[in-house]
Amino acid sequence: MANVTIRNLNKNYENGFHAVKDVNLEIRDKEFMVLVGPSGCGKTTTLRMVAGLEEITSGEILIGADVVNDLPPMDRNIAMVFQNYALYPHKSVYQNMAFGLQMRKYPKDEIEKRVREAAEILGIESLLERKPRQLSGGQRQRVAVGRAIVRHPQVFLFDEPLSNLDAMLRVQMRVELKRLHERLETTAIYVTHDQVEAMTLGDRVVVMKDGWVQQVGEPLELYGKPLNRFVAGFIGSPAMNFVGVAISDPSGVLWAEAEGLRLKVPQQLVERVRPHTGKRATLGMRPEALHPVTGADPAEYCFDTTVDVVEPLGNEILVNFRAGGAPMVARVDPAVRVKAHQAIRLALDPERVHFFDENSGAAI
């Protein structure tokens, strides 16, 4: 059991690529921390530096109270699950799981006990004598997790462990991992490019891009209060709609205007948006913050548009349209009847409006 502290962490590759830039993170004891971001954002590199598989250019990593910068992977008391599972193909499932304990010279009966215990937790008791090539993808995944948990490490590291599974199995394993973490109560760092995985698994989530940490927070915090346009667009599916608007103040009331779109700046944002009067900004609206107009919606949050494409998903309908010159999606109730090319009047929930600085992308 331990917390992991990352201070001013940097990674420069020999070819000059600066993969990780000044990362500072405090991962609390027993916390499930997810690093998420597009490929090449430095999340895997950060994880590999914690594991000791990648050299640290500058900065410090602490596991518990100890700086581990110069410790080899074997001395960091961590366990890692790899994307391709990395099971030893010449060893049986049992031997795969026992290897780490054998290397640490545990007595035989202790090894046996721990492997049986882990196999039971993961439901793979019947597979112990098999070789990895005789297992299905999901079973291999379980063995890889089992190999990590028999060691009772201080920290679990997961490097996109579910990416090689098919969609159904991924959802199932996601739940199992969450349950497992609750049971084992061990600090975990989990890397993924899938924001749904990040949101469902993480106690807290770190969003990264181009080597920089964009935002750290609990899933709903990231969703509700994104610090910048990148986080706003990355978290949530379908992604947040963005449209460039001009902020104007013709009569003491702030308006956000784009071609064919004129929306009042909601009360809670007026103070923060006012300094941008006369300038351009980016307006962000989540698809679920848009709905067809009902009688109760105030007119200053409504606009007219034409439906482009309709995606009926069953539990909801995704309505694609253009507004203010940008393509947008609204997520509406399946009871609403909409057809392609039909005119529609939509209303925006004023509580869920975001503004971002046109240049820096920072939330206003």
Binding site: A51, M74, Q83, A86
Partner: protein, 283 residues
Amino acid sequence: MLIERKWKKWIFFYIPMAVFILFTLFPFYWMAVTAVRPDPELYRTWRQASATPFWTLEPTLEHFRGLLQTTAFPHWLWNTMLIALVSTVISLICGMFAGYALARLKFRGSEFLGTAIFVTYLVPQTLLFIPLADIIRDLHLGNTPWALMLTYPTFLIPFCTWLLMGYFKTIPKELEECARIDGATRFGAMVRIIFPVAIPGILSAGIFAFTLSWNEFIYALIFMSSAELKTVPVGVVSELIRGDIFFWGQLMAGALLGSIPVALVYSFFVEYYVTGLTGSVKG
């Protein structure tokens, strides 16, 4: 449709295959027939009415007896075996470590080193034996098995290194990363995880190296002079062709016996051998 396809299969598959098999196996058949053909049949002309060039009606083991009793053939066989084994083992050990280093470790000049090793493999033996002869003489190794055990690796190590480097590259690097997290050192991960996983590749390299040294001719011809110490390829040629007389029966008997060990080695490991060359490791 179906008939046409059958016809095509004969033209493009069965017939070329049959020709190919005939072409490859005929020399072996000829060797075997000649080895058991009695002398009077061997030295009569083809034009004679009773000639049966492709088979014999009176097979004999006389040539084998002659070979084993009148020549030092058993010694040659033993020498060849010993020299091939020792040089293969030396080359494999060096090749495994060198191949691993070139495939996995990033160090300055690793690519240049890899290419340089390959280039040494391309230097023809017919050139290399001249400086090597000098070295062998200076070290007083001439006419001892060590002369060959130490010179064969000059072409076997580059060969093994390259074959194994290619194989190691197909092994996912996560395997050893995982082993290192599991508590193995880099060296331990190599010995406990990478080498066992690479067994098909190592066996292929070994078989190839063994065959190459078994069949080697020019170094064996130059560095060994006493009849007792010769290897099979050199011994058979130098002792069984006296002046302009070819002892065809014994020559072929020697060739036949000499190729049996190699054939055995191949057939034992053929499965590994194929996966070793195609090189596929899945986790």
